[in-house]
Symmetry: C2
Subunit: 190 residues, 2 copies
């Protein structure tokens, strides 16, 4: 199946939004990247805002879906944590450019999309925290550990994975996931 023109435009937008930011990217920039004039873009898309919205919700839905699968699985709590790291590695590699938008560009969503996006994100974080909480209950995490801080710390690293991955393309997906599990879960110092 061939890529639709809309898909080509979305991918070019993701690359530009990532590099220059949503506001600093003009419709002319996007049009130039796909080889047409700015006015012609509107035969394929409704607005610049629509581009941002679709890119962000594609990613958010993929995370939600992956999280739900993991939550419903019969994996142990620790295995669920590991599966979440695999999920982030997978999506980082699959979505490359557009995943970069989740760290900052979502603020440019307009309502009601912004509210809906944040709802998905909050829900995701709550599910993640639940798994950490279960690990604490089953004594796999120390009772004195602040799991809210641990959650934030793990997610920060996973969200910024794309920036590291682009500089280290030599590392295989499997090796990357393995090393991340050690670093994020078991720590650095012996």
């Amino acid at each position: 199946m061939e890529k639709s023109k809309k898909q080509i435009i979305k991918e070019a937008s993701a690359k530009l939004f990532r590099k220059k930011g949503f506001n600093a990217t003009s419709m002319q920039d996007i049009a130039a990247a796909v080889g047409i004039k700015a006015a012609s873009l509107y035969n394929h898309i409704g607005s610049k805002q629509e581009l941002l919205k679709e890119l962000l919700f594609n990613i958010a839905n993929a995370f939600t879906s992956g999280m739900n699968d993991i939550e419903a699985s019969t994996l142990s709590n620790i295995e669920k944590l590991e599966a979440l790291i695999d999920l982030h590695v997978d999506l980082t590699i699959t979505y490359r450019d557009s995943i970069a938008l989740i760290t900052g560009e979502w603020v440019h969503l307009e309502e009601p999309d912004l509210k809906n996006y944040l709802k998905l994100r909050t829900q995701y974080e709550a599910q993640f925290l639940n798994i950490l909480s279960a690990c604490k209950k089953s004594k796999h995490i120390d009772k004195n550990t602040n799991i809210e801080l641990a959650l934030y710390s793990i997610l920060s690293s996973l969200h910024w994975l794309y920036s590291w991955y682009n500089k280290n393309k030599g590392v295989s997906k499997i090796e990357l996931a393995k090393q991340l599990k050690v670093t994020l879960l078991k720590g650095v110092i012996i």
Copy 2:
């Protein structure tokens, strides 16, 4: 000593740049926040770009200075790592709003500032990596650990600390630093 008007403008800008992004913040927004008209801003500052530049280099220089002090100290390698976490916690609390700009808004710097900014950042990361490398050599970090990935992971968490700190103001600086050292260095799982 009273705050200069320029300082007030810089602080208002930091807050707005953080919330809406550099490009989405207009001079009118900044002027309104300090209670004057946009044109009057130019009695105190040269340009919008100058605001961004000064905010970012204030932070970058503080990090560079702190890193150099730690590097030149007689602390052990592990203690240096802990001191770096203290440094990030300190600067996050001291600079609150403007520190948020280092995660994304630096891309809007113009040359040659952009190049100089990235030089400071690269240098900082190299010094950080050196300390991790020394820990590996002294067997405080396992020989199979990928310290580049560990560096990236630790820095991601520390860079995003401001977003967590703002939601958890109840936590004291000392307690925060202590918990971060556990989470980032010794890991989450027992």
